[in-house]
Point group: C2
Chain length 400, copies 2
């Protein structure tokens, strides 16, 4: 029998679609933790299992505040922590007891690591046939590269993303965010949500296999169509768009602004706003495919007009005309913007401001203050009491 303590910290989670769902989180660094943070933000109980002494690798990554990793705090809010040495038989049994009663198991070790620890897909399904066992790895559980280690930059390099980011006369460039990590975390979250829905219909769990490289391939839509249709590389387009014009950054008198014209009607409005109605009547610029063909000529015309005023001036004028346009904001400007505040996209946890949860669903909390990330093994004693006495595969534990 499990102890009468059923939840180490039950009254302090936001409500959400996953209220009542228990997640065991063996993941480290960024992709897996980002996934499980979303689950926690949306009401799930997330129990982070960490290696004793060192914990999640990211506890050693900067920046640091009072000697603690802010990196770790940013992607582990709202979770509990227990330190387990999975090569130790007693600790191994604790994890087995947790698996028997959880809804979701998330890990992002290199493929094969969980197998070596005794947690093969079959073993986990035997402990709990209803569990969603989700793995997020660099290259997935199958294929010739499956066993290789990966990080975000490796995947940005291999996926072709670096080859199409940057300016035509410059080197391959990394997108300045860990887009491969974060997107694979988001895909893992998506897959878990989907599998939990399906479980309501089928009654059984599932194995989820997400790869960072797969995620980035799925994002390579424009590069892939250029190759498939024309047999050529998209290459580096600077800030321009593969098939839409004008859709780029343009120089005003002081700095660049982004202008995005998605259709012919919007182009007419842009021309009027910059007092160049004649451009809208020019056959070279009549339809998007014409403008795309003559994009260099069009840039000269647009920048000639924009040179008469500041970026701020033109954003006012062009924006008022209903043409999508923007200042190139710094991170601090983005974080401090009224829109970011209105959307509760900067929240507080443990006195630290951090990025919020973009999944807004009616009927649930979106609190401005969250439970902070746990200290290593902060909930270990309570979780051991809760799960520690549960026998391996006992019916009492499996049925709770």
């Amino acid at each position: 029998m499990a102890s009468d303590v059923t939840d180490a910290d039950n009254g302090n989670r936001p409500t959400g679609p996953f209220s009542g769902v228990t997640v065991i989180d063996l993941s480290r660094v960024l992709a897996g933790p980002f996934c499980t943070m979303l689950l926690a933000d949306m009401g799930a109980r997330v129990i982070k299992v960490e290696a004793p002494k060192t914990g999640d690798d990211s506890r050693g990554y900067g920046p640091f505040l009072n000697g603690e990793s802010v990196y770790f705090k940013f992607v582990n809010r709202g979770k509990e922590s227990i330190a387990l040495n999975l090569k130790n038989a007693d600790d191994h049994a604790v994890l087995e007891a947790m698996i028997a009663r959880a809804d979701v198991l998330v890990e992002n070790f290199r493929p094969g690591t969980m197998d070596k620890l005794g947690f093969t897909a079959d073993a986990v399904a035997k402990l709990n046939p209803r569990i969603i066992y989700a793995s997020c790895s660099g290259f997935g559980q199958t294929g010739p590269m499956s066993h290789l280690p990966a990080y975000d930059t490796v995947v940005q390099a291999l996926s072709g993303l670096m080859s199409i980011t940057g300016h035509p006369d410059g080197p391959p460039t990394r997108a300045g965010i860990s887009v491969a990590d974060l997107t694979s975390g988001l895909y893992t979250f998506s897959a878990i949500a989907s599998a939990l829905y399906a479980r309501e219909k089928t009654g059984h769990g599932a194995r989820v296999d997400i790869a960072m490289l797969d995620g980035m391939i799925s994002y390579m839509i424009h590069g892939a169509m250029e190759y498939v249709v024309h047999g050529r590389e998209l290459g580096r387009l600077g800030n321009g768009h593969a098939s839409i014009t004008p859709f780029d950054t343009y120089q005003a008198a002081d700095e660049q602004i982004a202008i995005c014209v998605g259709g012919d009607e919007v182009f007419v409005r842009l021309c009027k706003a910059i007092e160049r109605d004649d451009l809208a009547a020019d056959t070279r610029f009549a339809r998007n495919r014409d403008r795309h063909t003559h994009q260099h000529a069009l840039r000269l015309e647009i920048e000639g007009a924009l040179a008469r005023g500041s970026a701020e001036h033109w954003i006012g004028v062009i924006g008022t005309a209903g043409v999508p346009c923007a200042k190139i904001q710094s991170v601090s400007e983005a974080i401090e913007s009224p829109q970011t505040a209105a959307r509760n996209m900067i929240v507080e946890a443990g006195g630290l401001r951090m990025t919020g949860n973009p999944i807004k669903i009616s009927g649930y909390d979106d609190p401005t203050t969250r439970r902070p990330a746990p200290g290593l093994d902060a909930d270990g004693a309570a979780i051991r009491r809760e799960f520690g006495n549960a026998g391996k595969g006992s019916d009492a534990a499996a049925g709770s």
Copy 2:
């Protein structure tokens, strides 16, 4: 009563967690269609509602093949299409009848557009209290910028992403993929899956409100922590990492390679592989925070060693040592790689190769060939027969 035709094209969809779920898709261009393509890939029936004559704007975007937009084909596979003029009373009634019987409604108009068409959240909930009504917009349904139009590049500019992408001595740079569009589509998919799960518990639908800007703010983790902790801008780091070293591209004799060292043990393996064990013993490079502090000195040492061989040589040597590293592949190299093939990440639809579905869940199809994107109104007649006779708000229709 609805007609006896219950599905314009059943029997030809992959099985998936969302088999049996019906999605009405009013979305256009990229973010919304990417979301609903994922739903279709995972078994849902997706009925795309398009404006008569022109259809989805992206039908006018290149590249073109036999006069048809490949852009459109890439993100609309597996869907049905009906053309409806929502300002026409009869067509409006068809959509109402569809809403009464669907599980999910997705749109990515500018906030306010659906209200003007008569489809406020309240009106939709009245037609069908179980429906998940999901909106994906540039800035969300709330806040001072809510009403403004947006495209991917606008959001990359406003979120700070452009300000941290590129090289320290270069201009702000757009990530070469439509990351703001695609990520908001993926968040919308995630939210829909979550709300469908919750509906199994609560019995009622929900309103989902996803913003492209929110999604990108959630991805600005490293930039945000630099600002929150140190009060400064992350800036443009080239291909390096905000807090981990060595984690960058490095010049070999012929071209650059990416090397990513996530921990001290891996650093020792790298030093051994490049025959510079002495670096591992250097106190400047002992721990990650030391290496990060002395990253310029470390680059000189690493590139000095790499200059003795080609990129291909070093990827072999360093990779064999278990250190994450990679060639900077072009898009075509990424698409044609054995790993991409092994993961079924390039699929075929209508004779066209395109990017596949990265959400791999056991027990469901992941077919190599998919149903192609529909012609404009290709399923219109059948869908009108199916839904056309359903009275506005009739109990018979609402209960089916």
